[in-house]
């Protein structure tokens, strides 16, 4: 790409301008945050507010984004690839040092806590990649999910097997030998084992078949109904936003749109630019 090159008029028809041409194109981070500022949900159960941060000494990936989820509700983050969604999740989970902003859980500032400490506080996270213990069996993966639990975990394991029957058949197999979708199921299962108060999922449905995806979303709703807060990133955005209480569109590490799931689904600009029409 050269200076004179305009990606919008490239005959390859790229219409996701926000990444390649910040400040040009139809969507402006600044504009949107101006007209529809990210609400200050200081009282929300889980809040990552005004987060600025990046990897190592590199540039900031997050540029002041705010994400919040109420108790027992589902918040969904969508956005183009490389927007910083996973980075935002990691920031909320403390796997990334924030340069500005704070993370609060149930009113308590947890910005400085280590990921482990957050686990102890009842947060669970399924990363987007490398989210299983490949050399351990499926069942051991689940057990590790319940590492901090001291009660009997048999029941929960059975629940997971009910949810993902294929895993029961493969309980003694190293998770690394599973198919892509099966691994994803193990990953989600592992997080559910924690019996968390906050469940964070980074693209839980990537690579799972439609039937399992439906099951998964059902289950997520069910979990939320038990009072567990859910924060997830999804590229299967339409399905996800349908069940979302709150949706965030993240672009270049900032909030581009925020609203209820329904509102975002109804917004033609959001549909066209981020949800595939």
């Amino acid at each position: 790409m050269t200076d004179t090159h305009d990606p919008l008029h490239d005959d390859r028809g790229n219409n996701d301008a926000s990444i390649v041409k910040p400040g040009g194109g139809g969507l402006h981070v600044a504009d949107n945050s101006g007209t529809r500022p990210a609400p200050r949900l200081t009282d929300a159960f889980l809040v990552g507010e005004g987060m600025v941060g990046g990897y190592g000494r590199g540039p900031s990936i997050l540029n002041g984004c705010t994400i919040a989820a109420e108790k027992g509700q589902i918040a969904v983050i969508v956005g183009p690839n490389g927007a910083g969604k996973s980075t935002a999740m990691k920031a909320v989970f403390g796997m990334l040092d924030l340069r500005q902003g704070s993370v609060r859980l149930n009113g308590e500032d947890i910005t400085r806590l280590s990921p482990q400490a957050r686990v102890a506080k009842g947060m669970a996270f399924v990363p987007q990649v490398r989210n299983i213990f490949a050399s351990m069996t499926v069942e051991e993966n689940l057990e590790m999910g319940a590492f901090l639990r001291r009660d009997d975990i048999r029941g929960t394991i059975e629940q997971i097997y009910d949810l993902f029957p294929i895993l029961k058949a493969k309980r003694r197999q190293p998770a690394g030998e599973l198919s892509g979708g099966q691994r994803q199921q193990v990953a989600v299962g592992r997080a559910l084992m924690t019996q968390p108060s906050v469940l964070m999922l980074d693209e839980p449905t990537a690579g799972v078949s439609p039937i399992v995806m439906d099951e998964l979303f059902d289950r997520i709703i069910e979990v939320a109904r038990q009072g567990i807060t859910i924060l997830m990133v999804e590229q299967n955005a339409r399905q996800a936003l349908e069940i979302a209480d709150r949706g965030y569109v993240l672009v270049q590490g900032g909030n581009a749109f925020t609203g209820t799931g329904k509102e975002l689904l109804a917004d033609p600009q959001v549909r066209k630019s981020f949800l595939g029409g």
Partner: protein
């Protein structure tokens, strides 16, 4: 040139930090200079010469590890083979030994080689199964016994010829400089055979396999006296440069030395070392240039891709096995060349002196501390670690000497310290190594 759309999104484009490299090399030169001033130039040049050789070994390991991710821990074997080549090329032949049993030895070896070929062919022709396994075992054992039956009497006969000073078949009697490329070739040939069999192994499994192969090579060199006298050593190898004694008795040289204000002894020892330095530097410069050109080319990129992800590289049409073999052979050849140079410098081949710690792991330390994946780093590592390896000894001694002077000379602690001072070498080496790794974990001149 691509312009980056947004300064906040763009990472600074990684460029090798040339300034850092230049400074580090300058620092190395300063270290050598200080050494020369403090310990004498003969000492400094001795260190530099071996440093040059070490740098070539490090370059070879860097090719294999830094470029292609091959964990070769058999460096010692290839270095030793290079040394063997020097004996085989530069020593005079022993006609008496040849007539005593030379042909028989050759025939025995040929029979052995034939057996191996038969095994390979058989393995390819027959279908896998118990029948094939049986056939392979039978052919292998019979071939081995037959080869031994032919070989052993020949070996006995050869080794009986004047065992205290020769007892081997001797070499070709060619100029010793030819031994350097020959050392490379011999090591390359061995590497080809080894690579064909073992390169399917990954990471530490390849490491231990190559380690084992190096031990096997050494076992052969130590115990097959007909080849190069085994543990009885070969001394007095010809040198490519004039001898100090000859120079000291050469009136012209003595006169010229005197005109420079040097004694004949000093001038001759220095001059010989400078000559070696010139030869070694030319070889190193040539090899470094070739390695550098290779690294910066699409070939180097392909190698890095293979190193990063073999599966993907294979799917992108790169013949990983063939490339691994290629670079394994090249890297080993460098080690062979360096081995031949080292034996030439020493003037003797002593198989008992090849130890993995010294000729494998120390070389690895050079590469990692210098910066794997970076040729300049590997070469710097070669110099620096070698310098350290020899300098910690006098430094350790001096340290303990200073300590001991504070104590009463006949106290038991003082004598304990005296004996312990030798281990200062180990301690200092370890400490400095850890410190360097600590402050530049990716090497002094990292890959990028």
């Amino acid at each position: 040139m691509t312009t980056l759309p947004d300064a906040t999104l763009a990472k600074p484009i990684a460029r090798p930090d040339h300034l850092r490299a230049v400074l580090l090399y300058a620092g190395m030169a300063a270290l050598i200079a200080v050494t020369g001033a403090a310990m004498g130039w003969n000492y400094a040049l001795t260190v530099v010469n071996m440093g040059l050789i070490s740098a070539i070994m490090a370059l070879g390991v860097n090719l294999q590890w830094g470029f292609a991710g091959l964990f070769n821990v058999g460096v010692m074997g290839f270095v030793a083979l290079g040394g063997l080549a020097t004996v085989l090329v530069a020593t005079p032949p022993q006609p008496e030994a040849w007539s005593a049993g030379g042909l028989r030895v050759i025939a025995g070896l040929a029979l052995g080689a034939l057996t191996v070929v038969a095994l390979v062919v058989l393995r390819g022709r027959m279908t896998a199964g118990r029948g094939r396994a049986l056939a392979l075992v039978v052919v292998g054992v019979l071939g081995f016994l037959a080869a031994r039956w032919v070989l052993d009497p020949g070996v006995l006969a050869v080794e009986a010829v004047n065992p205290s000073v020769s007892g081997n078949l001797g070499g070709l009697g060619l100029p010793v400089l030819l031994a350097w490329p020959a050392g490379g070739l011999l090591a390359a040939g061995a590497a080809w055979i080894i690579g064909k069999t073992a390169l399917g192994l990954r990471s530490d499994y390849l490491a231990i396999a190559t380690l084992g192969i190096a031990e096997i090579i050494l076992a052969v060199m130590k115990n097959e006296d007909w080849l190069a006298r085994g543990v009885k050593n070969v001394v007095g190898l010809p040198a490519p440069v004039p001898q100090e004694i000859a120079l000291q008795t050469d009136p012209a040289f003595v006169a010229r030395a005197a005109s420079l204000g040097l004694s004949a002894v000093d001038a001759s020892t220095l001059w010989v070392k400078v000559l070696y330095l010139g030869l070694f530097a030319v070889v190193l410069a040539g090899l470094l240039l070739l390695a550098q050109l290779a690294l910066k080319s699409p070939w180097g990129r392909m190698m890095r891709a293979i190193r990063d992800n073999e599966v993907a590289a294979e799917a992108m049409g790169k013949d990983v096995t063939a490339r691994h073999l290629q670079i394994f052979v090249l890297g080993s050849a460098l080690c062979g060349i360096a081995g031949a140079m080292m034996v030439t410098l020493d003037g003797q081949l002593t198989p008992g002196s090849y130890q993995p710690l010294r000729y494998t792991f120390l070389i690895w330390v050079m590469v990692i501390v210098g910066g794997s994946g970076n040729n300049w780093g590997a070469v710097l590592g070669g110099f620096l670690i070698w310098w350290l390896w020899v300098i910690v000894e006098p430094v350790g001694n001096a340290l303990f000497g200073a300590l001991a002077t504070v104590l009463p000379p006949d106290s038991p602690i003082a004598s304990h310290l005296q004996d312990a001072s030798a281990h200062m070498r180990l301690l200092t080496m370890g400490l400095v190594l850890l410190l360097m790794l600590r402050f530049s974990p990716r090497g002094l001149i990292p890959e990028r």
